[in-house]
Every structure is written in structure tokens, then in C-alpha cells.
């Protein structure tokens, strides 16, 4: 919203007087009077292109209709948003999109989540008057994370903008002309052949099913129905924060208990929590940081739990690899621990365990397939589904999610802390690590657990922590790869005096991940963040090293953090993209 001091203009929309800030577009001004002009290519967080022409309106005196999403308001402007000419043209525009779109809505993965479908329904389009050629293009299923179906693309270029503006990767661009125009990676290559981070932000902004997560739900059903398999599931910190939105709850509703109940009813043999592994990650990462500081290791050290970020480093900045913490992500640690520690404790043949994870993330699907993640002697994580796929499974079996009881995770890998809870928010891993690093380094109890400076949605946040004895740890936090790039450049130029920084590839952190429910915008992310910190504040344990299950794990089985077993199971290495391709 505008500040009070901003100059305003007076205009009319459909004859109604509107006073709007001078910087507004017509689309924004219309919202002031409760009028949401239909739109498709417009996205509140992306540059405005005005290319789909759905939001056309009539401005008196203008030569043609104008796109309200880009057209600035003006003093005395008279706008008509539903004149006959506007209505006819808008309908024709959507009809033209439909004429070049597969009409498989009933069995499309975006059925009922598709913005094109919604607009066609809203505008009351009952038939398409145009028959003719349709775009024919092959689906790109080259990678484990994202499916690109160019036949469903309406060329709104939201993905182009999201990838460029959020991630700075520019994987997509418009090519060819006229009817042959298409949005695709360079030279029409598969996403596995370009520097895609698999973050999936494109899938969160795509209005149709042109870009979606790879659906792995059938693999989960197959595992569950196999009597020879013991299927365990882990759920990432952000899943419980986003899942409720799929069932009509407002953003920021945490549904941990119902989520656990739903997983049990779907047929999983054990329902565990990635939060447990997040505490493990903190144990390892905090100790690694202290070790690097004490022994003069490579600094700054950067977190390594966001697979989009890892992919980015391996493809774009392999020279940065020594800065990455060797600690596996929580998903990776969980996978290695469940097929060893848990299997041993529960006396289950690890060969029979199918390890499923529910993640807010499309890149996690890729991470699970990394050759490095086999330290249990098996594939540590077998199947990864996103929050969206998980919601689809719940709907498939007709579970009345809202009326499910609240249930608890199974132990031991279901016990966690507030430190793990905040992993979902940008700055959360940093804060969790600082809580542990401080106490481990100083041996003193932290008075205030809240590191406010690393919270919130600023692109890059910086803070320093006085460890006593003249030692000050300087840290930074970045979310989105565009911001990460700045920290990398600063580091490689030798200008970063940080000891430690956290990077999350997605805006807001994992809670804004590429596998989270639609839609995601800044307000929704903020609501999820608020919920996370609120939950943390109410947790019994708020520091990873105080998690009793973690203490038991290390005391009875894992040994010391960074110790031999931990080194083998919980740490990994990274490979420059060039080598990975070989």
C-alpha cells in the first residue's frame, strides 16, 4: 500500500470515483473499489509485461484498449473495465489461448488449480470458435524435479521473470516468432542440460500446467501396498505450515497433528519428522563452524541444506565448493540415519525400508538421487514428494483432513526442537546454529534465544554475535539465488568478512519452496514465517543440542558430532557440474 504522503489522483472506474496513488496501475486502482480485473500474466511480485492481454480495459481517449496491469493511472482518467468492447476482446483473448491449449482439464495435474481454467470459467466461455493448428512440443521429463509441458504454455512469461528476477538464472526465454513462439531453455535443451537449480519457483508462478513438479505419488502408493516393504516417512519443517492451505485454512495455520494422522491413515509404517534430522544438522554444522574457526579452515562457511543452492554452486560457482558446509541436509541425514540407526534399533532389515520424504521443495527430488546419498549402504531416501503431491494423496483417498485427530510423530525420530521448527524460514538455520554454537563455544547458557536480526524477508541480512573473550562471529543470511549470488561474489572477491552464512534458494526460505501449495506471495510467506516463530517460542526444547532424542542418538550410537560415524553418515561432498556431467 502507498504511504499517506504519496500524491494521489482522482479518476473514475466504471463511473465510480476513485482516488488512487499516482504510482498505481489501473489494475491496482480498481482493487481499491473491490474490483479485481481478470489477469493472467500479471504477478504481484514480478516485473509487469502486459503480454497476455486479459486485463484489457478501455481508457477514454486511448487509441486502443490498454493492459490495466501496466497502464499507469492519471488525473481525470476515465476507465471502463466491462464495456462491450472490453468484454468481447477479453473473451476472444482467452478463447485464443484455449484454441491453442490441450483441453484435458479433467485429468490435468493443475485441474482446479489452473488460472486459465478459472478465467475461462469466470468469463463464461462456453465454446471455442477457432479450430486449427495447435502447438506440438515434447514434454521435458529429463530431470527428477520439474516437468515442462510446452503444449500447456500460454507464453505469459511468468517463469521467465521468476527465474530471472528471483534466481538470476535466466533458464527460460522466448524464442521463435509468431505462432511458433515458445518459452524454453537455451537451444530447446532439457532442464537437466542447463544450469537449472530445480528450485521450482517457476512451478509456483506458472498459471497452467506448463511447469509442474514431477509427480511421484504413484511410487509412494506402490511402496505402501507392497507387503514386503516397511515404509517410513519424514516431513520437512515447512510442510506442516503450508499443507493446511490446501484444505482451505488460512496461511500460517500449522497442522502438524493432523498431518501426522493423515500420513498414518495413508498407510505409512512409521511417521517421523525431518525436524529431528534438522537438529542433527545443527549439531554437525555448528560443530563444523567452530572447528573451522578454531583450526583456520575455509571461511566463510555456508549452509548446505538447500538443494537449489547446492545445485547453483555446483553449476555456476564450483570454485565456491570449499566454502560449503559438508553437513548433509536434514533430508539426507534422516535418510542415512533411518536405514542404519533406526533399522538397527527396530530390528528391521534396511533393505526392506522404503524411505519417503515429504518436502516443500522440488529440488529435494533431485537431491535424493545424488550418488553421494547412499551412505546407509542403500539409497538413503527413496521417494520424495512435495507438499502439493502429499495433499493430492490425501484427497485421493478422501480423508476428511479437517476432522482428523491430532496425533504425534513416532519416536525416536519424531522428537524435535524449536530450532528445527524455524529451519523453514529464511534465517532459521542460522539462528538455530547460533543457539547451539554459542552454548557449545562459550559453555554458557544463551540468555536470549531470539536472533531477530536474521529474521524477516529482507533479501540479505547481517548480524554479529559476541561469543565473549573478544570473539565476534559475523553472519549473513540470503534467500533467493539472486541474493546468494551477491554473497558468493563478495566471498570470491575476498570482501566477505563473515564467518558463516545461510542461503535458501527460495524466497522466504523453504516455507516459500517450489513444492508448496499455490499461490505463494509475500503476504502468505510472512504469515507462514510468523507462525513458525510463534511455534518455536512455544516449544519445550528450543536448542538442537537439548533434544533428548538427539542426545540419546549421539550418546548411544552416533558418537561425537564430526566423529567417525557422523562423518561417514552425516557428511557429504560436492561435485562441480562439469564432473557431474561426466
Amino acid at each position: 500500500m502507498s504511504s499517506v504522503s504519496e500524491t494521489t489522483i482522482k479518476m473514475t472506474i466504471n463511473g465510480q470515483d476513485v482516488t488512487a496513488p499516482k504510482s498505481y496501475t489501473i489494475l491496482q486502482a480498481a482493487r481499491l473499489i473491490g474490483l479485481d480485473i481478470p489477469h493472467l500474466c500479471y504477478h504481484p511480485e514480478l516485473a509487469r509485461e502486459g503480454n497476455c492481454r486479459v486485463c484489457l480495459v478501455e481508457v477514454e481517449g486511448a487509441r486502443s484498449l490498454v493492459a490495466s496491469c501496466v497502464y499507469p493511472v492519471g488525473e481525470g482518467m476515465k476507465v471502463h473495465t466491462n464495456s462491450p468492447s472490453v468484454m468481447e476482446t477479453r473473451k476472444t483473448v482467452v478463447e485464443l489461448m484455449l484454441a491453442n491449449h490441450p483441453r484435458d482439464c479433467l485429468f490435468c495435474v493443475k485441474n482446479q488449480h489452473c488460472e486459465l481454467q478459472q478465467i475461462a470459467a469466470d468469463l463464461g466461455i462456453r465454446k471455442v470458435r477457432f479450430q486449427g493448428e495447435k502447438r506440438e512440443a515434447k514434454k521435458d521429463e529429463s530431470n527428477p524435479s520439474i516437468v515442462r509441458d510446452p503444449e500447456k504454455c500460454i507464453l505469459c512469461t511468468r517463469c521467465v521473470r521468476a527465474c530471472s528476477e528471483r534466481q538470476g538464472l535466466d533458464i527460460f526465454s522466448s524464442v521463435n516468432r509468431g505462432f511458433k513462439s515458445i518459452v524454453e531453455p537455451a537451444f530447446g535443451l532439457g532442464l537437466d542440460e542447463v544450469a537449472c537449480s530445480y528450485c521450482g519457483q517457476c512451478t509456483t508462478v506458472c498459471p497452467t500446467a506448463a511447469l509442474t513438479e514431477k509427480d511421484d505419488t504413484q511410487l509412494v502408493w506402490d511402496a505402501i501396498s507392497d507387503p514386503d516393504k516397511f515404509v517410513v516417512v519424514q516431513t520437512a519443517p515447512s510442510v506442516r505450515i503450508g499443507l493446511g492451505e490446501e484444505f482451505g485454512l488460512k496461511s500460517g495455520s500449522i497442522v502438524t497433528g493432523k498431518m501426522v494422522a493423515a500420513l498414518r491413515r495413508l498407510g505409512f509404517d512409521r511417521v517421523f519428522d525431518t525436524d529431528f534430522a534438522a537438529d542433527q544438522t545443527i549439531m554437525e554444522e555448528a560443530h563444523e563452524l567452530l572447528h573451522r574457526i578454531k583450526t583456520g579452515g575455509v571461511l566463510p562457511m555456508a549452509t548446505s541444506c538447500s538443494p537449489g543452492w547446492i545445485n547453483f554452486v555446483e553449476t555456476m560457482h564450483p570454485e565456491f565448493i570449499p566454502h560449503l558446509s559438508t553437513a548433509k541436509s536434514p533430508q539426507g541425514m534422516f535418510g542415512a540415519t533411518v536405514k542404519t540407526y533406526f533399522a538397527e534399533r527396530a530390528a528391521i532389515d534396511p533393505a526392506k525400508i522404503v524411505s519417503v520424504s515429504v518436502m516443500p521443495c522440488t529440488a529435494k527430488k533431485w537431491e535424493a538421487k545424488r550418488p553421494q546419498l547412499c551412505d546407509s549402504g542403500f539409497r538413503d531416501v527413496d521417494i520424495v514428494i512435495t507438499t502439493r503431491e502429499f495433499a493430492r494423496m490425501i484427497k485421493q483417498v478422501g480423508l476428511d483432513f479437517m476432522n482428523l485427530p491430532e496425533e504425534d510423530f513416532d519416536s525416536p525420530m519424531g522428537i524435535s526442537t524449536g530450532a528445527a521448527q524455524i529451519f523453514g524460514a529464511t534465517g532459521g538455520v542460522m539462528e538455530a546454529a547460533l543457539r547451539t554454537a554459542y552454548e557449545k563455544y562459550t559453555g554458557k547458557e544463551l540468555e536470549n534465544l531470539d536472533f531477530i536480526a536474521v529474521r524477516g524477508l529482507d533479501g540479505i541480512k547481517e548480524a554479529s554475535v559476541d561469543m565473549g573473550g573478544g570473539v565476534v562471529i559475523k553472519v549473513a543470511v540470503a534467500h533467493t539465488l539472486r541474493n546468494a549470488e551477491k554473497l558468493v561474489q563478495k566471498t570470491l572477491a575476498g570482501e566477505a568478512d563473515y564467518h558463516f552464512f545461510e542461503v535458501m534458494a527460495c524466497p522466504g526460505g523453504c516455507l516459500g519452496g517450489g513444492g508448496q501449495p499455490y499461490p505463494t506471495d509475500r503476504e502468505i510467506r510472512q504469515a507462514r514465517i510468523d507462525a513458525i516463530y510463534d511455534a518455536d517460542a512455544h516449544m519445550k526444547y528450543r536448542k538442537s543440542h537439548e533434544n533428548p532424542a538427539i542426545i540419546e542418538l549421539y550418546d548411544t550410537w552416533m558418537g561425537q558430532p564430526l566423529g567417525e560415524r557422523a562423518h561417514h553418515l552425516l557428511h557429504t561432498h560436492f561435485t562441480p557440474w562439469g564432473e557431474r556431467l561426466k
Binding site: 499507469p72 486449427g132 493448428e133 522466448s174 516468432r177 509468431g178 505462432f179 513462439s181
Partner: protein, 596 residues
């Protein structure tokens, strides 16, 4: 000091004449003259385009001003021996008026030139475009000198007074555009010359660039001074290599002479010009797409506002005009805006260059005062329709324009009258069509062009023109239905109203204007399954008449073995097999094959 010559042989070195052989003629003249020891007394000059490109290579011999057409290397000897030595005009090489076939020796008496008023093209064909001295000798850079002695505001006032409007298509008042850029806040501003001439059949900008490059530079420098810019870009399509080479040469000459660069003519004003070669996308003629292309991005338009005058190249205020617009500026400055404004109509002042192509005798460039009628251009200047055929329509304004019928031949041409008639000035392409042209097929041709060249960014243009094209294809293929015409009209309306840039907003014009003036042809295709002009092959059939002597040539010519018959007996065509290529008809020595 070069010796004064007694005679000048002007050889056109424009793209048209070069491709028809003038490249060889120039050295042939030089060689011949040297052999006869006349190198000092007769000067051979390679000039820019004279406009009558179809009759090239053109050679004009001064001081008489004798105009020779279709000159070949083998004619060079005769021109030197007979004309230059003996002083006799060579009748067989003279231009002939298409209507009377009378030969016209004197350049100035040729009807094609008589009705023209060459203002922007004044030097084209008359000076050596590679010589800055010749340009200066033809009063070049006087306009710049005068402008630099005035205030920028006064320069803009003069341009406003001239009434000059953008010659690239939009017709926006040039002085106002300059004023916007001048008024825009910012220290860094740009001047951009749009030389991305892309309309099929239009080549006036190329002619100016090739024939008089300094004129364009001078116009840009004056503009830079007026709007407060110190840097200019010429966005020229790479398909114009000669224009680019001439511009590069001219820029270097002007830099060396202090007419470009720091402190021009001691005025304290500095200005540089760069050339950016475009890769030939039609849409890059749209100013925001052009700017994107200069910046190194894909040439796609963006919504306006902001207009380039406020936020253009690299976000800086930028003034964009096309070549012909800039070419008018030096003379306007030199002669004053009033002189320019004394020609033309109430709303459209000065002259406009038109490119005459199609079914017309004198194909080429003609610069005429605004307000002239289409009839004067086509019949008086263009020499009418060849082969005694009947005029049917003239397509004006390129792919964004419209087709005007015979009843509008006496329309006085200006921006408003053309738009009102459903066409547009565009860049001034005129494609003349005779009775053998199918108007549905014409509309289809232009739609095919705009669909191909649509940048693909906005839905109505990308998808809508495709659907229009498919409907037109259907009609031409004999599969049209009664619903197709209203569907075309509905689509056209939405595409015009809803497209992002002028390419889409004008793309339906050829369809709308043909529907307006030649609706009966559409109906004939749909209802009667006939193409009245006999163009659309779906409705065609070839039959062999009783004139057939059974020679068998048609049978041999047929690529699909559709013709059968015994020697010396009448042959027949199997309509099922016939692909309507017309090869049989072309081969038949007895005119025994009818098309219909």
C-alpha cells in the same frame, strides 16, 4: 585541385542497379575513357538511386542530362564513341514513356520525374554518396550550421512550424516528439534513427542511406542539438550492407571534418553516432522493440507509457525518428519550416516518398507532395498498368495497410484520408494490383507476413493472426463457410483493439479493407466456389480444347502424368490427378489449354 570535367557520366550504384550490373559498367567506362585519353575531361560518378530501379542500370550523361536505361557493359563503347565523342544521343537506350512508347532523352522531361517533388531524395542519383564534398556542394550541412546558430528551442519551433510528421508510419508530429525528449528530465539523452525498413516492397530509406548518407547524419545531429542528446544510434538492418558501408564512410568523413564529435563547428555542441545492425526482424521497426534490440535483448515491444521520450534506450530519454524523417530536417532548417509547410494538405505537410511496386509500369521510388491523388501516382508517375490490364486495387502502407479500390483513386493522400479509408500511410509502400489479383489471396499474403513476423509476446497478435490466416487459407482452399466472414471480422476487431503494439493493432487491416471493398470476392470463394481472379488453385481446372493437335508436349510437361492421349489426337487432363501447376498451358504451342 581536380580538373573540371566537360561531361559527367552518372552511373547509379544503388542496390537495384548494382544487382542488374552497374558494378561492371563503372569500371568499363573508366577503362574505355582512359583508352581514349579522356579520363580528365569526362568524370564517371557512382551515384545513389534515381528511383526507376526496374529500368536499371541507369546512366545519365551530363551536361545534357540524357537518361539511358538498361545499360549493359556492351553499351559502354557506344556511349563513349557516339555520345561523348560525337555528341549524338543513342536512341535505343533512351527511356520510353509506357503509355506512348515515345523516347524521352531529357531526364527532366520524363513523366516519372516531372510530377515528383524531390525534397528528401533531392541528392539521390545526383551526387556521389561517398563524397562529403559533393554533399556540401549541394548545400549540405548548411542546415546544421544554421541550427547551431539558433537556440535548441528555436530549432524545435522551426520543425514544429514545418508540420513534419513521422515518415515511418505513425505520423506523429516530429516537432512535438522532439519537444517531449527535450523536456524530459535527465542529462543523458539519445537520438535514434530507425533504419529497420521492413515493409515488403518499401525501399525509400535504403535509397536515402545509400544515395545521400550525410543528409541522415545531418538530420540526426540537428535533432541531437535540439533535444539535448550527445549520442546517436542508427539501427539499420544487416540486409542493407551498402547502406551500412556508406553510413560508416560518412560518419568517418564527418568526424574528420569536425561535423561530428567534439565541439561541432566550434559551437561547443558534441555528438557521436553509432551504427547498430539489426538482424531483420520486422517488429524491430517498432520503437520499443528496436530499443530492446540495441540494448542486446530480444526485439520485443513493451507497453507504453513510458514513451521513449521519457524512458528509452537504457532507460534514458530518447528521440526516435525514421530515416526519411531525418532526411527532411536539413532542408527544413536551411529553407525554414514555412517552405516545407507550403506543400501538402492541411494536416500533412511536405512530401512523401512512395515505393511503387506490383502491376505498374514504372516500378521505383517517387517523392510527391502530400495531397496528390493515387491516380496521379499510379498513372502519371507510375505509367499505369502494364499489358493493358485493368487496375483493381492498390495496397498502401505495407502489411499494416489496406487495399484501396478504383473508386478511391482520386483520394487526396494524407495521413488522415488513408486511415479513414482503412489503409495507412505506413512507410509509403504502394503495391499496385490488376484484375488478375485475388484480393482474398492478397489478404492472406499479408496476414502470413505479419503472423510470421509477430514477436509472439501478446496473445491477440500471436494466436489471433494465426487463426485469421487459417480462415483465409480455408477460404482460398474452397473450404470456407458462411460463418467465416463474421468470424474474421470479430477476430480482426479484437486483435486491433487488444494487441500490445502497432504490429498487431494494424495486422488485420489488409483483411478488413479487402472485406470492405472486395467482399464479393470472399463471397464468391465461399458461396460460388470460384476465385474471380483465377488465382486460387483450389478452384482452378485446366481443360484441353479442340485446338489440340495431339503434339504431346503437354503430356511431357505434366509432372504428375495427368494428361493422356494418342499422338495427333486430342488429349485430356484427368482433373483428379492435376495439381494445377500450369506447366501444360505454358508448353502448348496451339493455345489449346484453358484455365478456369
Amino acid at each position: 585541385m581536380e580538373k573540371l570535367a566537360r561531361a559527367h557520366v552518372l552511373c547509379c550504384g544503388g542496390t537495384g542497379c548494382s544487382s542488374s550490373g552497374s558494378k561492371e559498367i563503372i569500371p568499363a567506362f573508366k577503362e574505355k575513357l582512359a583508352a581514349r585519353g579522356m579520363s580528365d575531361e569526362v568524370k564517371v560518378v557512382e551515384t545513389g538511386c534515381h528511383g526507376l530501379c526496374e529500368l536499371g542500370p541507369l546512366v545519365i550523361v551530363y551536361p545534357e542530362g540524357v537518361f539511358y536505361t538498361k545499360v549493359k557493359v556492351s553499351d559502354v563503347d557506344e556511349i563513349v564513341e557516339t555520345h561523348l565523342i560525337k555528341g549524338r544521343v543513342i536512341e535505343r537506350l533512351l527511356f520510353r514513356e509506357p503509355a506512348t512508347l515515345a523516347s524521352v532523352p531529357d531526364y527532366d522531361d520524363i513523366a516519372f520525374y516531372k510530377k515528383q517533388h524531390r525534397y528528401a531524395l533531392v541528392n539521390c542519383g545526383h551526387i556521389n554518396p561517398e563524397s562529403m564534398e559533393e554533399y556540401i556542394g549541394a548545400e549540405g550541412y548548411e542546415g546544421l550550421a544554421k541550427a547551431l546558430s539558433m537556440t535548441p528551442e528555436d530549432v524545435i519551433a522551426e520543425v514544429k512550424k514545418s508540420g513534419l510528421r513521422g515518415r515511418g508510419g505513425g505520423g506523429f508530429p516530429t516537432g512535438n516528439k522532439w519537444q517531449f525528449t527535450r523536456n524530459a528530465a535527465g542529462d543523458k539523452k539519445y537520438v535514434i534513427c530507425n533504419a529497420d525498413e521492413g515493409d515488403p516492397g518499401a525501399f525509400m530509406d535504403r535509397s536515402v542511406l545509400e544515395g545521400d548518407p550525410h543528409r541522415v547524419l545531418e538530420g540526426m545531429i540537428i535533432c541531437g542539438y535540439a533535444v539535448g542528446a550527445d549520442e546517436g544510434y542508427i539501427y539499420c538492418r544487416a540486409e542493407y550492407p551498402l547502406a551500412i558501408r556508406r553510413l560508416q564512410g560518412a560518419i568517418k568523413q564527418a568526424m574528420d571534418a569536425g561535423l561530428l564529435g567534439e565541439n561541432i563547428l566550434g559551437s561547443g555542441f558534441s555528438f557521436t553516432i553509432h551504427i547498430k545492425e539489426g538482424a531483420g526482424a520486422f517488429v524491430c521497426g517498432e520503437e520499443t522493440a528496436l530499443i530492446a534490440s540495441i540494448e542486446g535483448r530480444r526485439g520485443m515491444p513493451r507497453p507504453r507509457p513510458p514513451f521513449p521520450a521519457n524512458s528509452g534506450l537504457w532507460g534514458k530519454p530518447s528521440n526516435i525518428n525514421n530515416v526519411e524523417t531525418f532526411a527532411n530536417i536539413p532542408s527544413i532548417m536551411r529553407d525554414g519550416g514555412d517552405y516545407f509547410a507550403s506543400q501538402g494538405t492541411e494536416t500533412s505537410k511536405g512530401t512523401k516518398v512512395f515505393a511503387l511496386t506490383g502491376k505498374i509500369n514504372n516500378t521505383g521510388l517517387a517523392e510527391v507532395p502530400m495531397g496528390i491523388t493515387m491516380r496521379e501516382i499510379i498513372y502519371d508517375i507510375g505509367g499505369g498498368i502494364p499489358n493493358g490490364k485493368k487496375f483493381k486495387a492498390v495496397q498502401i502502407g505495407g502489411p499494416s495497410g489496406g487495399c484501396l479500390p478504383e473508386q478511391l483513386l482520386d483520394l487526396a493522400i494524407d495521413y488522415e484520408s488513408l486511415t479513414k479509408a482503412g489503409a495507412m500511410m505506413g512507410s509509403g509502400g504502394l503495391v499496385v494490383m490488376d484484375e488478375t489479383t485475388c484480393m482474398v489471396d492478397v489478404a492472406r499474403y499479408f496476414l502470413n507476413f505479419t503472423q510470421d513476423e509477430s514477436c509472439g509476446k501478446c496473445t491477440p497478435c500471436r494466436e489471433g493472426t494465426k487463426r485469421m490466416l487459417e480462415i483465409l487459407n480455408r477460404i482460398c482452399d474452397g473450404k470456407g463457410t458462411e460463418e467465416d466472414i463474421p468470424l474474421l471480422e470479430s477476430l480482426a476487431k479484437s486483435i486491433k483493439a487488444g494487441s500490445l503494439c502497432a504490429l498487431g493493432q494494424t495486422a488485420p487491416n489488409p483483411v478488413l479493407s479487402t472485406l470492405n471493398f472486395f467482399r464479393n470476392e470472399y463471397e464468391a470463394h465461399i458461396r460460388d466456389h470460384k476465385c474471380p481472379a483465377g488465382v486460387c488453385t483450389a478452384f482452378l481446372g485446366y481443360t484441353i480444347t479442340d485446338n489440340c493437335r495431339g503434339c504431346g508436349l503437354c503430356k511431357k510437361a505434366c509432372p504428375v502424368e495427368a494428361i493422356s492421349g494418342e499422338v495427333k489426337a486430342k488429349h485430356v487432363i484427368d482433373p483428379e490427378k492435376c495439381i494445377k501447376c500450369g506447366a501444360c498451358q505454358a508448353k502448348c504451342p496451339f493455345k489449346a489449354i484453358d484455365k478456369g
